[in-house]
Symmetry: C2
Subunit: 154 residues, 2 copies
Amino acid sequence: MEKKSKMEWHGRFRGRGLRFTIPRRLILETLSSTIDHLSAEEIYIRVHRKYPNVGLTTVYRTLDLLERMGIISRFQFGDGRSRFELVQSSTKAGHHHHLVCTSCKQVIDYDDFVEEEVELLKKVEKALAKKHGFEINGHVIQFYGVCNNCQKQP
Amino acid sequence: MEKKSKMEWHGRFRGRGLRFTIPRRLILETLSSTIDHLSAEEIYIRVHRKYPNVGLTTVYRTLDLLERMGIISRFQFGDGRSRFELVQSSTKAGHHHHLVCTSCKQVIDYDDFVEEEVELLKKVEKALAKKHGFEINGHVIQFYGVCNNCQKQP
DNA sequence: ATTCTATTGAAAATGGTTTTCATTATTAAT
DNA sequence: ATTAATAATGAAAACCATTTTCAATAGAAT
């Protein structure tokens, strides 16, 4: 599994004439080994612990690249920074949507109704793609609210 | 309609011990008179044209306030700045969702399937609110893709 | 008109992200 | 393996949307 995805990744890079470097591998491994929604800086810190001569700049550049390659998704939850996770294709297990507390910024992944949501979204996506000539390759569903804990403390 | 909403707004401010000042009125009028998703700076420019001694700081502060009051919604389409529109309650006409071109950043409002979407979302919202103890007060549905025009030019 | 205090504008500070540029490292060819 | 070509990197500086600070101003109740 480790090996397999490593080779998969390597192939996706080489296929585009890109190099599968150490920083790129470490960033992908970091994202693979957590369910959290990490920010660029959080990824930098974790990568940096294992391999101290990786710079924050490279993390930003790599995240942009991975997003353009369709390997990771970028989310904005309202705390002023982008957060990233490995793409969970909406047709596969693991795909989820987000519930965000606008007060403490915590994010809960939910998948309770994702099948239903995705089913509808696929229909909408198809219609919108046709109507507006778009090539659609992603979606976001997010609920915003105030979590249990934040409701108590004013 | 102009007068009516002006009085309505005035009431909502006074009800919270807030003042309905000239900058606040102008910002609300600006948002009322467009269907665009304006950024803080775009709002500032428009307000500034009519009333040059309104500062950008005040625009930011007012937008934060209006969002907290539930009068406007903030969206992040990925171009690095927040964009705002008057709240269109999901139960009322005018409510729409967004289709975003990740290349040129254009945003298309669509309402083709919004009734269906909102119906499902209400069900999900209720379940999530109960399950996680959230008080949910908003949602985002966005599709991301590449528009007709951007597909042509590499 | 006066008082109280919410609100404001200007300037400075903040903080996430991007750019610049000289250096390094990966790959394909030798 | 070496080498040549160039993709990728790190550090520092630049960038830019947003926030903070603070003294001055202006709503609203009296």
